[in-house]
């Protein structure tokens, strides 16, 4: 369902601004709160939502996202339940693109074909699977494209011009530029270098380029939005949620608001940067 992603980027272009992409973990801290958060994201200004598939061993993620995944697993979240939350979200929202982001093992164990059929039926538009480089495209990327789901690839500072074409070859929807060499929620990137990298990637592809890792505030979002087609924020939202949980890790009255407040700030940051409408 790459159309929903394309339509959303087109809409942002028309409005002369970058897109805000928000990441939260499915089932964190419990399925119902997680669904309410998911539903609140577009209303608070998110253009695209990424929903994390919990995994015990997220090697490329930092402590915030690992802890969120473990909280979700502790209350019994699994792939079936995650797809169910998306189905319930989709019943109310037909327009916001939903991207599932996670690691390959739960998908492999679920069964690739069954997963793709169920994800599509639930209303998923794209996948980001961190531990599947182009060298393993046969595993999920090619079947996903065939099933009509975008397989969104990460490009990183270590992806040089020689390697970029391989990374971009089967990618769809958008390109996710990882602003640092490191894990999620770590260092704040050098925004100047990020802008240069985005320009470099754009020379290789007509796809929108969004930037994530290390974006924590409205000001950061605005800085990234100068050059990129979109900004991804994850760990900061998870930290905002975590700050409201009680000593047992359960949601409290302020949990959802804490997330939407930050989304609003990030959205304002993105929208403060006017871009020329696409030529």
């Amino acid at each position: 369902m790459t159309q929903r992603i394309e339509a959303r980027f087109e809409q942002c272009r028309q409005e002369g601004r970058a897109a805000l992409v928000t990441y939260v973990m499915a089932g964190d801290p419990d399925p119902e709160t997680s669904l309410q958060i998911l539903k609140s994201l577009p209303k608070a200004g998110a253009d695209i939502v990424e929903f994390g598939l919990p995994f015990t061993d997220p090697m490329a993620d930092g402590p915030a996202i690992q802890a969120a995944g473990l909280r979700a697993l502790k209350v019994g979240q699994d792939t079936v339940k995650t797809l169910d939350l998306i189905r319930r979200f989709r019943a109310e929202d037909q327009d916001t693109p939903v991207i599932l982001m996670g690691y390959f093992n739960p998908i492999f164990v679920y069964g690739v074909d069954r997963f793709l059929a169920d994800a599509r039926a639930a209303g998923v538009d794209g996948l980001i699977v961190v531990d599947l480089p182009p060298e393993e495209d046969d595993e999920l990327c090619l079947p996903a494209l065939e099933a009509g789901l975008a397989f969104i690839r990460l490009a990183t500072p270590t992806t040089d011009d020689r390697r970029l074409p391989a990374v971009l070859q089967n990618t769809a929807g958008f390109v996710y530029y990882v602003s640092i060499t490191g894990i999620t929620g770590a260092a704040t990137p050098d925004f100047g270098k990020v802008a240069t990298a985005v320009e470099r990637i754009k020379r290789h592809t007509p796809l929108p380029v969004v930037v994530g890792f290390g974006v924590k505030s409205g000001a950061h979002a605005a800085a990234v939005a100068q050059g990129a087609d979109g900004v991804v924020v994850g760990s900061a939202l998870i930290d905002a949620l975590k700050g409201t949980l009680d000593s047992e890790g359960r949601a409290t009255a302020g949990s959802i608001d804490a997330v939407t407040k930050l989304v609003k700030e990030l959205s304002d940051g993105v929208r403060s940067v006017a871009k020329r409408a696409a030529a």
Binding site: D57, A60, N105, D131, T181
Partner: protein
């Protein structure tokens, strides 16, 4: 499982994409891929460079102390012949120990670390990271980093830091920084996660020295190649001692590097029985670390292999009394050899390993590590069933000094 066609050779893997059948591969974040491709190229060049092999051979002899002896365990043999006679048989294999515990740093781990550190030097890398379970790989890495003046950071689960204190102290003395890992189950798999995170963060100047035959291609093949010295020596030494090759091989398996090192040079000798012994912990129906006996194929730490996991693909806690075997996965080549039926994978419990440890200590005057004690436990079972002219080699992959505190605790003693 035997339905798959048997290949002409079991020694040609992996293919150019790093696959052993359906296992292996390169399942890592994009940030690491350029580094992994660079490593693959550098290893390929080193492998074909006689100067690299000459360097390896020289340090193996003069620094590690190779070749390690192949020792006829006469009293163990006699004891198990008595066991055989007591059960009404007249068998009892002739048992040989491959003495990897006599290597510098006390285990087979140093064979692989020497290779990787010499490779890191060729690649101009100044900072080495490693993960460790029991601490033997960490000690070996810290040792060679000290020898070559390289920065060394070792990730170790906080639980393992606690149960392997002597090795932590050793690493500190060698100038390495030991980082206790508090995430997840705080054991070996989490140490590997943290090492991968470090590598993602410091990818330009850092070499990741993986301690077993797992991880993204080319690690499983590269580590195996460095460990094959064990099996190659065993072939020569057995020819010298007995004028023929052994009839069976036995080794313990965590990730499986000591085992593949012994097995690989013999894989195409089809009459040789090969046994890999996994850690059955409290029992295969309880908490254990036997990925082949109790797991199924999945993807973790850069490769597809057998893993302990739940219905949703979430990785489950492994348990073994031996920190070195306490890993929910196994090297991909073992997963393939298991499915091809070439190697028989069996398991020994914590209890059986402790018993075997005591048996070996008293009969042979050799304190084996808890890891090879698992292999010895199965030798005690298998040997009495074999005829007297059967030659059995068990790999004593490490020495037990590091485990003494833990063994004392289990036996109800306290070392002050």
């Amino acid at each position: 499982m035997s339905a798959q066609a048997q290949p002409n050779s079991f020694r040609t893997g992996p293919d150019e994409r790093g696959h052993f059948g359906q296992f292996g591969g390169r399942f890592v974040a994009e940030t690491l891929m350029p580094n992994i491709l660079e490593l693959e190229k550098a290893y390929e060049e080193a492998r074909n460079d006689p100067a690299f092999h000459a360097d390896m051979a020289s340090y193996s002899t003069h620094y590690i102390g190779r070749p390690s002896p192949l020792y006829f365990a006469e009293r163990m043999t006699e004891h198990l012949r008595e066991v055989s006679a007591a059960s009404g048989r007249s068998g009892g294999a002739k048992i040989y120990f491959k003495r990897e515990e006599l290597n510098h740093t006390g285990a087979h781990k140093v064979n692989n670390v020497l290779g990787q550190i010499l490779l890191a030097r060729r690649m101009g890398k100044k900072r080495i990271i490693a993960e460790t379970g029991a601490g033997q790989h960490g000690v070996a890495t810290a040792t060679l980093c000290a020898r070559f003046g390289l920065d060394c950071v070792v990730y170790m689960g906080a639980v393992d830091v606690e149960r392997q204190k002597p090795n932590v102290f050793r690493m500190n003395m060698l100038g390495a920084k030991v980082v206790p890992v508090q995430s997840g189950t705080r054991t070996l798999k989490d140490a590997m996660n943290e090492a991968l995170r470090d590598w993602v963060t410091n990818v330009s100047d850092t070499f990741y020295c993986i301690g077993t035959v797992a991880g993204p291609h080319p690690y499983p093949a590269m580590v195996r190649d460095f460990q094959c010295v064990i099996g190659n020596e065993t072939r020569e030494q057995m020819m010298e001692a007995e004028g023929r090759l052994p009839d069976s091989l036995v080794a313990c398996i965590g990730g499986g590097s000591n085992a593949i090192g012994l097995f690989h040079p013999f894989l195409d000798d089809k009459d040789i029985e090969i046994y890999g012994v996994e850690a059955a912990g409290h029992g295969l129906d309880k908490l254990h670390a036997a990925s082949l006996s109790g797991g199924r194929p999945g993807v973790l730490h850069g490769n597809r292999t057998y893993l302990l996991m739940d219905h949703d693909g979430q990785i489950q806690d492994a348990h073994s009394i031996s920190a070195g075997l306490d890993y929910p996965g196994i090297g991909p080549e073992h997963a393939w050899l298991h499915e091809m039926g070439r190697v028989k994978y069996i398991s020994a419990t914590d209890e059986e390993a402790l018993e075997a440890f005591q048996l070996c200590s008293r009969l042979e005057g050799i304190l084996p590590a808890l890891e090879p004690s698992h292999a010895l436990a199965k030798v005690a079972e298998l040997a009495p069933q074999k005829p007297k002219d059967h030659l059995m080699v068990v790999n004593i992959s490490g020495r037990g000094d590091k485990d003494l505190f833990q063994i004392a605790e289990h036996l109800g003693n306290q070392i002050v």
